[in-house]
């Protein structure tokens, strides 16, 4: 597969592993936060950690949009289906996320609610066109990557005069989350976060560019390397971060040059700016209320805003008792350090959001690398 296989090659991984091995200073630890769920997924799926020296640790960041969405917003979505009888369209990952009282959109669907999984905002628009007598709400979620398609959908609805379509907007912003994590050691009652550098978002940066992260080295003295989602990208970026740390440099570097530049996709940014504006503050699971960390639909497009049409009230629902998702999302704790992990909280029965999405740190830990005694390896000579 072109542009994919090249970034998963064993012999290159071995070379990179050797280079990292030569580069690391055995006298110190390297704690590197991979920001995105896509990175976490790649690390576990390809066994990247096995190739790293033992003093290089990946700390899993909050970059899974499903994981950081607070319970209150799920409750809002469930309320829309149950009380307003809307057709709720959403991306697949959202269906299993637990809301209050162990409810989820999947359960609401099983009970007769009209919840539909879509692959694109265009599918949601089609459903609205096909059901003129029903209200259709698109449960929009995601970081900067998925925001432009939502903007397109709203503009398209405007162009068509589609009045039975609205968007429940939950688009959040990565630089604000990064700032929040860097400032959070001061949060009382929270375990301190120690991170030496960041593997910066990949697809998000394709939209916003690498420039928005420049405050991280400037204000917080932490290096950032924009890293692709393939395993070789992750390893190369780790090497670049380790080099910066060893050399005492601190800057934003870009490993993912085949996709990302400093300015990003200006056209997409303009589209987003036309339809959305900064929200004063937004609640993140794990990070709490974060200033200017989300987008809301502008007044000019208010007709397509589900929060306005259905007067959705902001509700703040507590996380499950004992759930360490807040600490896990900030990289302050590892999934296995949560007492719910693998006991009452498993992918079949998730208590916290990190166990729901395959990008969530807990689910990735559980599915790909939960604690185990390695079996006795007997090499198979594959007959090709």
């Amino acid at each position: 597969m072109k542009y994919v296989d090249e970034f998963r090659q064993h012999h290159l991984a071995q070379k990179l592993a050797a280079a990292i091995g030569r580069e690391v200073d055995s006298a110190r630890e390297y704690r590197l936060m991979e920001f995105c769920g896509g990175h976490t997924h790649a690390i576990f799926r390809y066994g990247v950690q096995d190739l790293m020296p033992c003093n290089v640790e990946f700390v899993h960041g909050p970059g899974c949009p499903v994981c950081v969405l607070p319970i209150g917003r799920i409750d809002n979505a469930i309320h829309l289906v149950k009380q307003h009888d809307v057709i709720l369209c959403t991306y697949g990952d959202m269906l299993r996320v637990p809301g209050s009282g162990r409810q989820s959109l999947l359960k609401v669907k099983a009970a007769g609610g009209d919840v539909r999984m879509v692959y694109s905002t265009l599918d949601a628009l089609r459903i609205a066109r096909d059901n003129p007598g029903r209200q259709v709400v698109f449960f929009a979620i995601g970081f900067e990557t998925t925001t432009p398609p939502t903007a397109v959908a709203i503009r398209q609805a405007q162009a068509e005069g589609l009045t039975n379509f609205t968007v429940f907007c939950n688009h959040v912003l990565t630089p604000a989350a990064m700032r929040s994590i860097l400032e959070s050691p001061a949060v009382p009652g929270m375990a301190p976060v120690s991170i030496d550098g960041f593997l910066g978002p990949a697809h998000v940066s394709a939209i916003i560019g690498s420039r928005p992260y420049e405050f991280v080295p400037a204000e917080f003295r932490r290096p950032v390397v924009i890293a692709g989602f393939e395993p070789l990208d992750v390893m190369q970026s780790a090497l670049m971060l380790i080099r910066q740390l060893n050399e005492g440099r601190c800057e934003v570097e870009n490993e993912y040059t085949r996709v990302v530049n400093r300015r990003g996709n200006v056209k997409a940014q303009a589209l987003v700016a036309e339809v959305f504006e900064l929200c004063h503050a937004f609640e993140w699971r794990g990070l709490g209320l974060v200033a200017h960390s989300a987008l809301r639909i502008k007044d000019a497009f208010g007709v397509w805003d589900a929060e306005r049409r259905f007067s959705i009230a902001g509700v703040s629902a507590p996380d499950s008792k004992g759930c360490e998702c807040p600490s896990v999302l900030r990289g302050a704790r590892k999934p296995a350090e949560c007492r719910l992990f693998g006991t009452v909280c498993t992918p079949e029965n998730p208590m916290g959001a990190c166990m729901v999405s395959s990008e969530g740190a807990c689910a990735a830990y559980w599915s790909y690398g939960r604690l185990r005694q390695p079996p006795v390896a007997i090499k198979v000579e594959a007959v090709r």
């Binding site: 064993h10 066994g47 190739l51 697949g92 692959y119 979620i141 007959v383």
Partner: protein
């Protein structure tokens, strides 16, 4: 004047007609549907007797029986349809014991309003699949549910078969040191189905691998009667099947990712959709676990059969009381290949 009284004065309008509640009433309309559509296509000596049961002689020895319900959307997909699938799936379940499948039954739940033309296409496809496999459908049943209470057509098939003497294939017989083989590329069926779903249409030349595997199994059993485990990795894909076998046998497994055959188109589709091919369904593949001494012989026999051309040795059974299936990734690391949780859902980012 024509004095012949026709049993059904009005012909069943298969071209334009639809299923209605009378077709499930057990009366005249049911009889007409059975005669004009089911018996006409599935015709064989036992079915023609029109009894409520099929009577046949059995040989001495061990018999196996398996039943499977088939619900698939869409009903017609690249490389097959629900009719052929209902025949292949149940034949395969019986064949995975090493048995020769002998007879099939088929029960249909039809939704009111379902086009008879589609039903005929499905039944004709079943008949063709059964005839090609040499396993006749000898008894059946039809019920009709109101519109909205079904999804076009559901088909449940049951098969019986006879196990050759000395064959003891079972999911609990895998032991450390055994070798794991797969009969060909994985994920073809699941991707073919997804590519034809209304909300996800993408262009591909991938066809479902739906096929009856009993002849491949017969060749394998003839070559190596002491095969330990056989299973067809249908729903939940290769990963789920291996986890089932690991659990049943109380062993672990270690796979080599780069040995697992995957079509490049299937790999690309999974990449695009954020799915793991190890969890994608197959309908014409089998997993075989055998003693190391039988592995190369079985691999040759599989590759000599049209349904096993791309067979491969993909891993080994290891001692592990926790029953983990692990995989050496092509990248050089190691990961757990876990049970499938819920449905595979596409990732957002």
């Amino acid at each position: 004047m024509n004095t012949v009284i026709r049993r059904f004065p009005m012909r069943l309008d298969v071209r334009r007609g639809t299923v209605d509640m009378t077709h499930g009433s057990g009366g005249h309309a049911t009889a007409q549907l059975i005669e004009a559509l089911f018996v006409r296509h599935l015709d064989n000596e036992i079915l023609r007797q029109a009894n409520d049961q099929a009577a046949f002689d059995v040989s001495a020895g061990r018999m196996v029986m398996s039943t499977d319900s088939h619900v698939v959307s869409p009903l017609f997909f690249p490389g097959g349809d629900i009719g052929a699938l209902a025949v292949h799936g149940t034949i395969n379940d019986v064949a995975m014991s090493g048995a020769h499948p002998r007879y099939l039954s088929a029960a249909f739940i039809l939704e009111e309003g379902f086009p008879l033309a589609d039903l005929e296409r499905i039944v004709a496809s079943m008949a063709q699949a059964a005839s090609k496999a040499g396993v006749p459908v000898v008894t059946g049943d039809t019920k009709v549910v109101e519109r909205g209470k079904g999804d076009g057509v559901f088909i449940t098939t049951t098969a019986v078969g006879v196990v050759p003497d000395g064959v003891k294939i079972s999911g609990n017989r895998a032991q450390p040191g055994d070798v794991i083989l797969v009969s060909g590329t994985v994920g073809d069926h699941g991707v073919a189905i997804m590519s034809s779903r209304e909300n996800l249409a993408f262009e591909t030349c991938i066809e479902s691998d739906s096929a009856a595997l009993h002849e491949l199994v017969a060749a394998m059993v003839a070559a190596a009667p002491d095969i330990h485990c056989l299973r067809d990795p249908t729903r939940g894909g290769l990963a789920t099947t291996l986890n089932e076998l690991a659990q049943q046998s109380g062993v672990g497994m270690l796979l080599q990712e780069d040995a697992i055959p995957v079509r490049s188109e299937v790999a690309a589709a999974c990449e695009l959709l954020g799915l793991d091919v190890l969890y994608v369904a197959n309908e014409g593949k089998l997993v075989c676990i055998c003693a190391p001494g039988d592995a190369l012989c079985l691999l040759q026999v599989m590759r000599a059969h049209p349904l096993g051309r791309q067979a491969a040795i993909i891993g080994e059974v290891v001692a592990d009381v926790q029953g983990f299936v692990q995989m050496e990734t092509a990248f050089g690391g190691r990961r757990i290949v876990d049970w499938l949780v819920g449905e595979q859902l596409p990732r957002i980012c």
